[in-house]
Symmetry: C2
Subunit: 163 residues, 2 copies
DNA sequence: CCTGCGAATGTTATAATGTTTCAAATATCG
DNA sequence: CGATATTTGAAACATTATAACATTCGCAGG
């Protein structure tokens, strides 16, 4: 079987989800934004998963809980959560993942393991600098950066180094 | 009207398309890969556009030329072209653009202007190094890098600096 | 030449992802 | 309470991508 260890050591995942939720509540309060039950539940579902979750995965979960939900329900919640930096969209996967650095200024850099599917978010300050420098040489003004690295995480690398 | 100058100075675009096609033919020959008429036509269409083209844009063009084509026709051609590094997929746009550095080893970094839609591909060697370094600190083994920067190109920045 | 085999294409259907629209409900503030 | 703006419900639709299977094409060996 191939489901590999959680990222990246065993931990009390419920606790880290709860912490993320608490932080989200604080951030929303600061911004006078309303973290409604649906929005909070979507955020929780995304955090509960170690792997990025597709919008329709979230939808299926909501539906199975008896929540009468349609695609716009989920996309609206996700838009809201992205707006306040609580989740990120992973473009190369069409999926969403909880933001590890919510509230902190950062350029998200995502390490996506193609074997186990787990994603690790890095702040990558020097990477960010290098990108801005490169853009600067073309007099380009960056606004949003999509940086997603697919490959093998440490665990999967030793298990299956051969492609 | 907002269609802004070509990237990034006036040039004989037909000539640069022809050069890209010639280069593609050479690369395919080297690899004993068959650049069939459909594949070549798809590559040409993508190169003719300064902006990334969606698969269904390509499809519409083929259809309008009398080519009996369906989605798989286009996606197969695009898969082939990507495989040999002749086009890139821009994940954040669900669209495709000609590779500026076909045949050369490089990490594509794309500067996408949100105003005019033009895309500039950079090699970004230092960026690539920084990314590999950052991944290295997590013992992550990168395989493919998606790096897409959205913002304002020089032309559009002076026109509309205020968002 | 022709025949057999793998690569490439045609064709139909369907899956997966995301958006528009408009009406109803709910929160917030004076 | 009443006006207003935000949020949600609900149905339909649009866009992007793939699955499955039949057919044709290119080419090497007999």
């Amino acid at each position: 079987m191939s489901t590999r260890a959680l990222p990246y050591r065993p931990h009390n995942h419920d606790a880290c989800v709860q912490q993320a939720l608490a932080s989200a509540r604080a951030i929303c309060q600061q911004h006078k934004a309303r973290l409604t039950p649906t929005r909070e539940r979507v955020l929780e579902l995304i955090w509960q998963s170690h792997k990025p979750l597709g919008a329709y995965d979230v939808l299926a979960e909501l539906t199975s809980e008896g929540h009468s939900a349609a695609p716009p329900t989920v996309y609206r919640a996700l838009d809201f959560l992205q707006q306040y930096g609580l989740v990120h969209r992973i473009a190369s996967l069409n999926a969403f993942t909880g933001c590890t650095y919510a509230g902190e200024q950062h350029t998200g850099m995502f390490l996506i393991c193609r074997a186990c599917g787990n994603v690790l978010e890095l702040r990558g300050i020097e990477v960010s600098t290098a990108i801005h420098n490169a853009a600067g040489t073309e007099a380009f003004h960056p606004e949003t950066i999509t940086l997603e690295v697919s490959g093998l995480c440490p665990g999967c690398k030793t298990e299956a180094p051969h492609e």
